[in-house]
């Protein structure tokens, strides 16, 4: 029943002329024998912000990490179904996972600056990927794009850890931008930040979508409604083994999800009745 509805929403979602950059077809993620996310169909349009919302344990972050194959590092984690990036299966044997990480960047929930200088934090990603150009220029350009340049331009040699939480997170965004990815995955990037830093990052995301496609997991529904073009609502159901299995309930234009949802559980969630 859900899949029929999904197919319906998907067509309405992908009706536009927009190019699809990432596509999941019947993607399920397992941890060992435990099914964490079940049968997800999603089309991520290029240069849009897509928000994943839903209660804890519904597999939003798990699904997000399948897009840059970071789940490969978790022992026992297995992905079924097809994820295509520019119509190419990213789990194909011929695909180099490191190349995927280069083209699909990621920003984590907790700011994770390397315990090095601000400059080195940005230069690291470029250097390991064999960047040969002018490093000073790249650092400045990345910091400018992350709206951090004016705050740190006089202390590039200082440790990234000396920055405030919000600045650290923007440093991590700058670091992700520096390797010029096409997609940026964000796993609750503002959940550890104060409202003012959050606002700054939201403004930043709106600028960044001109060049990048952004997929953002968030617990904050106001945030999703403010910044996202498309929103996917995930829910979890209890399994017999006592765990939780996540699935995609509804995926549509953000406006539709928040004001005219087609599923009752979406309506309940966005109006704050559970979750």
């Amino acid at each position: 029943m859900i899949s029929v509805d999904l197919a319906k929403h998907m067509t309405s979602a992908s009706n536009g002329q927009k190019e699809i950059i990432l596509k999941t077809e019947n993607v399920s993620v397992y941890y060992g024998n435990f099914l964490a996310v079940r049968g997800v169909y999603l089309d991520i349009p290029k240069n849009k912000i897509v928000a994943f919302i839903g209660p804890s344990g519904c597999g939003k972050s798990t699904l997000l990490r399948t897009f840059n194959r970071l789940n490969d590092l978790i022992p026992g984690c297995r992905v079924e179904g097809r994820i295509t990036f520019h119509k190419q299966d990213i789990y194909d044997k011929k695909i180099d996972p490191i190349d995927i990480c280069r083209r699909i960047g990621m920003v984590f929930q907790k700011p994770t600056p390397f315990p090095k200088s601000i400059y080195e934090n940005i230069a690291f990603g470029a250097r390991v990927n064999g960047y040969r150009g002018n490093m000073d220029e790249l650092v400045e350009q990345s910091l400018r794009q992350a709206a951090l340049w004016d705050e740190v331009k006089d202390k590039l040699k200082q440790s990234g850890l000396a920055l405030s939480g919000g600045q650290q997170q923007r440093l991590c965004i700058a670091r992700a931008i520096a390797i010029q990815p096409e997609v940026i995955l964000m796993d609750e990037p503002c959940s550890a930040l104060d409202p003012i830093s959050t606002l700054k990052i939201e403004e930043l995301l709106d600028e960044l979508k001109e060049k990048y496609t952004i997929i953002i997991v968030t617990h904050n529904m106001q945030q999703a409604s403010r910044i996202a073009d498309m929103t996917a609502f995930f829910n979890a159901e209890a399994t017999e083994m006592g765990g939780k299995m996540g699935y995609l309930v509804e995926y549509d234009e953000t406006q539709e999800i928040f004001h005219n949802p087609k599923e009752k559980s979406t309506q309940d969630y966005v109006s704050g009745r559970f979750g």
Binding site: N68, L70, L73, P75, I98, D99, C101, R102, G105, M106, F108, K110, T112, F114, P115, K116, F124, G125, V128, N129, S159, L161, C172, R175, A176, I179
Partner: protein
């Protein structure tokens, strides 16, 4: 909580929660435990202090520049510790050069590269067990492998054979220290590195190792501090007790016979003449100073690397 000076007045409270009637007893137990802990501390310190004073009183008058620059001798008043001291330094540097790269390499492999399989767990348990094997066993192994089988390379009971034996002895300690330091680095840093398209080695060498190095160095120097005091394995491989020359500063130097401070001290203590016992006390002071210098180096290195972050 410390007990109030006088018996506290009972608080008459209207609440349901009445103060426990045996509050005085609870304070007493508290006090008893505090005193017991204090006594334990004092016992440890006093024993150490008595030992140190005894050694210093015996040995300090004997300590002189001559004592440091003279070779061992049959005459106690002329005997010095030049060759054991130099031998110990050679031995330690060679041991460090062998054990550090192998131990750190193995630690990195087990912690960062090896999959979490049954084989890895068996190796892990065995390494922990190796750290507890009596040192004399390592000495016997060294005698057979490094002195006898590898004789063409080591030339028998040489510095190289001794250093290989000691390296074997401290390898488990270095491996465990390396793994502990690596494990203390948050996984989020590794993930962040991989998410930028770095390979495992790029993440380890540029992000993880710089953070782990202070812990690794501390562990290594503490392991070397253990090696410096080891006597049994060196006796087992047949290190000499009387050497009247220094190793040549060349590759052949590694193949020369040697003696070390603990062996010299052991030798002097077992002599019947009391004068030699004084020499032993002075030797112990020298050994302890070397040990103290090494531990100081460990602390300085650690602080330096931590500041560099």
């Amino acid at each position: 909580m410390t007990a109030p000076q006088s018996t506290p007045a009972k608080i008459t409270s209207p609440s349901m929660f009445q103060p426990s009637p045996n509050l005085a007893k609870r304070y007493k137990i508290d006090r008893i435990f505090e005193i017991a802990a204090l006594i334990s501390t004092i016992v440890g310190l006093v024993v150490l202090a008595v030992l140190l004073t005894d050694v210093v009183l015996d040995g300090l008058p004997r300590l002189s520049l001559n004592f440091l620059t003279n070779y061992p001798s049959r005459k106690p008043e002329q005997a010095g510790i030049l060759s054991p001291l130099v031998g110990t330094i050679w031995l330690l540097l060679t041991t460090a050069a062998i054990a550090f790269p192998i131990g750190v390499g193995a630690g990195i492999f087990l912690e960062e590269f090896a999959a979490d399989t049954l084989a890895a767990k068996i190796i892990e348990i065995n390494i922990a067990n190796l750290a507890g094997v009596p040192s004399i066993i390592y000495g016997l192994l060294g005698l057979e492998v490094f002195v006898r089988i590898m004789e063409p390379i080591t030339k028998g009971r040489s510095i190289l054979a001794g250093a290989l034996t000691l390296a074997l002895l401290i390898l488990p300690i270095i491996i465990v220290a390396t793994r502990e330091s690596l494990r203390a680095i948050p996984n989020s840093l590794r993930m962040a590195g991989y998410a930028l398209g770095a390979t495992r080695w790029q993440v380890i060498s540029e992000q993880i190792l710089p953070l782990a190095i202070p812990g690794i160095l501390t562990g290594t120097i503490l392991a070397l501090s253990r090696a410096i005091g080891e006597t049994a394995p060196l006796i087992a491989i047949g290190a000499l007790t009387f050497i009247a020359y220094l190793p040549h500063l060349s590759l052949e130097g590694f193949q020369t016979p040697f003696t070390a401070l603990p062996i010299q001290i052991y030798n002097w203590v077992s002599r019947p003449q009391v004068e030699f016992h004084t020499n032993a006390a002075a030797g112990i002071i020298v050994l302890m100073v070397v040990l103290l210098l090494m531990n100081t180096t460990a602390i300085i290195l650690r602080n330096k690397f931590q500041k560099a972050r």
